[in-house]
Chain length 476, copies 2
């Protein structure tokens, strides 16, 4: 990150966390220059960046001010999961969600699919089509165990954007991020171990915890700053936690991006208690802030972070191209990779490497970040308009997933069942908890361009939720 | 299997097992007709098939005789592995083999690659190239958890050839056979359990046993009939074995095909001791006998066989398209599939489905079976000619892998190291054992069309082995 970007980032974090509120005057150029010991020109550049990001506005002769943002609805409260390690349940619910997306004619508002309609993906289709011809035998042969060299080079290069210095040999290509998470978990745990997770948390990881005979210690998580470091510290003191698994950037499902100082503190905690960190960065490149946030991995000095990601959300999930940078756990991860799938499909890797090398990836990201950010605002407006009063809504910093907390005793699993009859599928909250918490919460996908069909669906979800709440009140 | 094929098959098995030896007169048409209660015409058809297979010849006015086959060298003795469950070692050796195939300029005689040069694979390359265009978005989206419907339909259809009645929903597509084996193992075991395996045995499964905290009970295995049922029964009585994992058809590395009656007996044993069977059929379609042997799965009445396979050996490993028919363990296998990789790459699946549906698969198999059978005979001749006297050689019934047992104290790991300097890589025997047995054995690949370069390499292997043996004798 350049100096002016760092300054802008710090200001942005202060705005995001409410130190400066809408309409507040921001520090003067001169004072910032003094505070940080940097040139006036650098501060000016930082402010220009904040202007570009729509966060600050210059008022003539007066300085910079926090720009009014559309009044946002209340955020969900910090989560309060169980206070002890638990076995993970909910597989039936997850299976149900996974299989539902196969039913034609269902509007899958609960799914994790990106927009694969974007014209900026065209060159990817071209690369896929020409791959068999240009790579010849190579595409048919076993790829190397770590994955194709071309792709690992590109991934290492992209790592710079998140502050990472990676060598291609530090990277193992995987069948999607799911395999990256799965082999990372297997590499650093033994059955019976406890894994600390942010909560709510992606169900794919939770189910892996279940499958591998591990227990999940769900840590209270703030919808703005992420996992509670205090609660995590207490848990580390109390339970035999072996690894911390979190998605700190554009979190699924809450949408927050953890501030840099929290990342540093988290890393110190991990060092102090000598545990590993599995960092899921799958949505990181879809952060609305530019430059994108740094990974925890980028602060890691002793190789205890296993950084997992894939091109499933940034490009297309059907490619199943993911990767892990396993740090000091490289050998165990490679063994788990080998016994799990031996190698990845060769051609999709080569197509992705080609797409990135030709500069299409950055172009596509620019487009999608802007599109998703707009869609977020639209989706929030719709949810606010159509959902029952008292609904709390997340404010995603990237990606395309929204989290809504319904008031009262709303039950998202029953809501989902009732919506299915109307051809709509949401992501029920309990999927994101080891023990089926978050029953009054749901996840919505806003990757598709907002249109009347989607608004109608959101309205139906809201109406059905309202109806259910009324029924409950009548009974009570 | 048709009636005449059954009769021919039984005769073939009797010949293979030495009841009838080269030059022996085979039973008369009339006596066979009486013995089996079938028509003369059916027996005649059976003999015609045996003639086609080069096993029998008619002598005018005298009947059918076992046709002389080229004198085959001695087979390896039945294996004598450790007599108790062991933790698996050898990962370094396996890693070494896997990474060696990435070095350019090395003749990888030890690898498991099929011939991907065959012109009958051309339509596959075409299907891969046209897939992105014809499948559009579908190729970019998450495939369904079980795998694409088209592919599962084709796999179910092919199952008929091995005597299986499979429904597409009985099948889960995997990232190669390795994932099929890996999730099957995970689905039926818990850490600490014992897995009975044929021995020598494919290192991929052995390493999975290691990774999942299981123990391997290696069972003595006959190079003609496969796993010793007596030894297996003793082991089942003595140890807490949870599952039997074997490759009964065109075994890797020994090349045998287990007779049908052994398959039935194995299944009874599994029923009696209530254990599951993981049947690896990856080379089954490359059986030189036509029709191909039945799977154990085809005899299975209570769903205890998990049948694993892939198109890595029959088509191309870089596709990573495999599958498992998990029987009664469907739910656990699906869970393991989900947490391991979530879904498989979509486009390779569609290309394979297309290739099979268009009839290219059967055509390709016919070609490859014939080619590999010829190459086997050539490879055996070369090994016989160039390897030290006293070398024993397997007689593969399908696939493209040969197993050689060197005399005396030959050490295949050191041999491999010395050959590397000459640009040749073999598959050292200890990779195929939990505890590094078979040090005097090695695996050779004969998938490439035999040519002078390969003969030269085989000669070098033989010369180096002879040299090592002489050195050993001199020291002794
Ligand atoms: C946070 C998170 N991690 C991992 C995954 C799995 O990604 P992939 O499809 O690349 O396996 C997902 C997909 O939904 C996800 O949301
Ligand atoms: C017997 C056996 N099973 C499984 C495998 C793994 O196959 P795949 O490449 O489809 O994962 C191999 C490959 O060498 C093998 O020989």
């Amino acid at each position: 990150m350049k100096l002016y970007e760092q300054v802008a980032d710090e200001l942005r974090q202060r705005i995001d966390r409410g130190y400066y509120r809408c309409g507040d005057r921001l520090p003067s150029i001169r004072s910032l220059s003094r505070e940080h010991g940097i040139s006036i020109a650098t501060v000016q550049e930082a402010y220009r960046l904040l202007e570009d990001q729509g966060l600050a506005e210059a008022r003539p002769k007066s300085g910079y001010y926090v720009r009014p943002r559309p009044a946002t609805p209340a955020m969900p409260a910090i989560s309060r999961p169980a206070q002890r390690p638990l076995e993970v349940s909910q597989w039936e619910q997850v299976l149900d969600l996974l299989c539902a997306s196969e039913q034609p004619g269902i509007l899958a508002l609960g799914r994790g699919m990106p927009d694969i309609d974007a014209p900026s993906l065209k060159p990817l289709q071209r690369a896929l089509a020409s791959g068999p011809g240009t790579s010849g035998h190579r595409g048919l042969a076993y790829d190397s165990l770590r994955g194709s060299q071309e792709l690992r080079q590109q991934v290492a290069r992209l790592g710079v954007d998140s502050g990472c210095r990676l060598h291609p040999d530090d990277i193992v290509v995987t069948t999607g991020c799911q395999e990256a998470l799965s082999i990372s978990l297997r590499a650093v745990t033994r059955p019976g171990d406890v894994v600390a997770v942010d909560s709510p948390s992606f169900y794919g990881t939770m189910q892996a915890i279940k499958a591998f005979g591990l227990k999940a210690m769900e840590i209270p998580t703030d919808p703005v700053t992420g996992i509670s470091l205090d609660a995590l510290e207490l848990a580390l003191e109390k339970w035999p936690i072996r690894v911390i698994q979190i998605t700190p950037t554009c979190n699924n499902p809450l949408g927050y991006t953890m501030p840099d100082d929290h990342r540093r503190q988290l890393l110190s905690l991990a060092q102090r208690f000598d545990v590993a960190i599995i960092e899921d960065d799958i949505y990181g490149d879809l952060s609305y802030a530019f430059p994108r946030p740094r990974t925890i991995k980028s602060f890691d000095s002793d190789g205890r972070v296993l950084l997992c990601s894939s091109f499933s959300k940034t490009l297309a999930p059907g490619l199943r191209v993911g990767w892990v940078a396993p740090g000091r756990y490289g050998e165990q991860v490679l063994h788990m990779k080998y016994v799990g799938t031996a190698a990845c499909a060769t051609l999709p890797q080569l197509a992705v490497a080609d797409f990135i090398a030709e500069g299409h990836y950055e172009r596509h990201l620019r487009r999608m970040r802007a599109q998703y950010q707009q869609s977020r605002d639209q989706m929030i407006a719709w949810v606010e308009r159509h959902f029952p009063a008292g609904t709390r809504i997340s404010y995603p910093q990237g990606g395309f997933l929204l989290w809504a907390e319904l008031p009262g005793d709303a039950d998202s699993i029953r809501l989902n069942e009732r919506l299915l009859a109307q051809g709509i599928r949401i992501g029920p909250g309990p999927l994101f908890s080891a023990s089926g918490k978050y029953r009054n919460c749901l996840r919505l996908n806003y990757s598709d361009k907002p249109d009347a069909r989607i608004e109608a669906a959101v309205r139906k979800v809201g109406e059905e939720a309202t109806r259910m709440l009324l029924e409950l009140n009548r009974v009570a």
